[in-house]
């Protein structure tokens, strides 16, 4: 559990379009790293490349290395399916499987991995739902469809689904952007708790959120329209928000653009 990520000179493409240029960064284990930057700067693209979800878009490809505890997940011998089983992901909009019950949603990943033992699945479901701070709210309706929950509950259900398989890393792509402030707070608290066990990378448009939940922050930017996105700087969150090295970071943080 909780592995470190080292990205080395990662270039990402959508067909011929060069979306992200030469990203190099490291994410230590049991740590929250926030990706911030204006729309279209490639921060979500980089996040999706960390569990090889980038390449599911037709024409998309990646060049460079992404090392998970030293092992390149883009090595030719690596099966992307197994990468995704060890690196969980939570999306911008909650996406529980609508035809599955709450319990089945949580254990969907385990079932895919071949776990059939009902007792084990029930245990994992409870542990994951407790881990996602959702157990108390749903324990009496585990067999009801997941689509019946509120947006914030659905997002926590998706987090439960992601942590049920005990991934090495948890990726979150703007997990609160479709949620109200109270649900957002619940998720942020949850991120702080999950940090004890997982390596977390979160993309956010909300700079206060980045400041609240993350240990280090990476700022991405575009030099111009049609240009690839770049990593401008990555540093301790405190430093990024008080005394960034790059002028562009400071301009963005202080609201001068973006």
């Amino acid at each position: 559990m909780a592995k470190r990520i080292d990205v080395k000179d990662l270039n990402l493409f959508y067909g011929k379009f060069h979306a992200v240029d030469g990203v190099t960064l490291s994410v230590p284990p049991r740590n929250v790293t926030a990706f911030i930057g204006p729309s279209g700067c490639g921060k979500s693209t980089v996040l999706r490349s960390l569990n090889r979800m980038h390449e599911v878009i037709p024409g998309a490809r990646a060049e460079g290395e992404v090392l998970l505890d030293g092992e390149d997940i883009y090595a030719s011998s690596v099966d992307p399916v197994s990468v995704r089983r060890t690196i969980g992901m939570v999306f911008q909009r909650p996406n529980p499987f609508p035809t599955m019950s709450i319990r089945d949603n949580v254990v969907a990943g385990l079932k895919l991995a071949g776990v059939r033992d009902k007792k084990k699945l029930d245990e994992v479901a409870e542990r994951a739902l407790r881990g996602a701070n959702l157990w108390a709210e749903v324990k009496d309706r585990l067999n009801k469809p997941g689509g019946g929950l509120s947006g914030g509950q659905q997002q926590r259900l998706c987090i439960a689904r992601a942590i049920a398989v005990q991934p090495d890393v948890l990726l979150m792509d703007e997990p609160c952007s479709a949620l109200d402030p109270i649900s957002t707070l619940a998720i942020e608290d949850l991120i702080t708790e999950l940090k004890k066990d997982y390596t977390i990378v979160i993309v956010t448009h909300n700079m206060q959120q980045a400041a609240r939940v993350s240990d280090q922050t990476a700022f991405f930017n575009l030099l111009g329209v049609g240009q690839p996105g770049r990593l401008i700087e990555i540093d301790d969150t405190e430093k990024i928000f008080s005394n960034p090295t790059e002028k562009a970071t400071e301009d963005y943080i202080s609201g001068r653009f973006g």
């Binding site: 569990n51 197994s82 969907a108 992601a162």
Partner: protein
């Protein structure tokens, strides 16, 4: 921060509410409404027409219309006709066609939406749609001239190995010529493929991307993505597409008429039977409708087909309506 240039008064705050209907709206809603009413009236009129034409013959009928298997309608003074045999052949051949067409259509639709490279999927889908536009007489010709004799070794083998099962028993017509329900069913299946495939493909295509990505991110393989997201999402659409296809098969006339050999013997639940479906029976006799009483017998059979397709379509609809749209 700039101040807003000019703050307009909130509209209609102190004005009385007044409903304005513009002439364009009125004309269009009138047109739409009358078109809607027209179609309902037409369907009702068809039903009434069938009923009105059928009733006198039904009264004069000496046999039980629903349960008799004989069909003697040539002599208006001596009518003795029952729809049962025709109905059984109709339903039996259609369901046989559906059983062949459903899995193949599912496979094609899944291939086109989930597996085929985009460059191939598009032209392939056009070809499938094109198949739906081929006139049924062409399918009928192909079935009677090409397929029927070609199938002889297959049917011979089925008959000799599985002949103990009623489906493959020696039927009531000469199997070797191939003018059987078996051949007709396969041709019908080919005709159903594009219908079921086209609708299923559109439904599968609409599986929300976030569902698919959710499954992928959990480490689902392509097939597991299909199983956990695409199939549950598209199931209702697929079933209703199949029902629409079934409706089509039930009413198919000319292809079946060309292929099936007529026989005076009754239908015995074998795929190697001949006979007639309701539609093919009517078509065969249509040239000889010289007496309203005789014609009425066929119209009564047509009424049964009308109701049957109505029910099948209603079932198809119920699958869509009863299903909550995701997202």
């Amino acid at each position: 921060m700039e101040s807003r240039p000019h703050d307009p008064r909130p509209p209609s705050a102190d004005q009385p509410a007044k409903v304005i209907v513009r002439p364009g709206d009125r004309i269009f809603s009138g047109l739409a409404k009358s078109a809607g009413i027209l179609i309902v009236v037409m369907i009702a009129a068809i039903g009434v027409f069938l009923l009105a034409q059928a009733v006198p013959s039904l009264i004069a009928n000496k046999a039980n219309f629903l349960f008799s298997r004989e069909w003697v309608a040539g002599d208006p003074t001596n009518l003795s006709f029952g729809v049962l045999d025709l109905l059984l052949v109709t339903v039996f051949s259609s369901i046989f066609a559906l059983i062949i067409a459903m899995p193949i259509s599912l496979g094609i639709a899944l291939f086109l939406t989930q597996y085929a490279p985009r460059r191939l999927a598009r032209p392939f889908a056009y070809v499938i749609d094109l198949l739906a536009a081929v006139p049924s007489i062409i399918y009928g010709l192909w079935g009677a001239v090409v397929l029927a004799p070609t199938l002889e070794p297959v049917t011979g083998w089925l008959n000799s190995v599985f002949g103990w099962l009623f489906l493959f028993e020696t039927g009531n017509v000469d199997r070797s010529i191939g003018q059987t329900i078996f051949t007709a069913g396969i041709v019908l299946a080919v005709m159903l493929l594009p219908i079921i495939t086209a609708i299923s493909r559109e439904v599968f295509e609409r599986t929300p991307t976030m569902q698919i990505e959710g499954a992928l991110a959990l480490g689902a393989t392509r097939w597991e993505v299909v199983r956990t997201t695409v199939l549950p999402f598209g199931k209702a659409g697929y079933i209703s597409a199949s029902m629409l296809g079934l409706g089509r098969a039930l009413g198919e006339t000319i292809a079946v008429m060309i292929i099936l050999a007529t026989t005076s013997r009754t239908f015995g639940w074998s795929l190697f039977d001949g006979g007639d479906t309701i539609a093919s029976k009517i078509a065969r006799a249509a040239a000889e409708f010289n007496d309203p009483r005789s014609a009425g017998a066929y119209i009564a059979a047509g009424l049964v087909l009308f109701l049957l397709t109505f029910v099948v379509n209603a079932i198809a609809r119920s699958f869509i309506v009863g299903k909550k749209e995701y997202e």
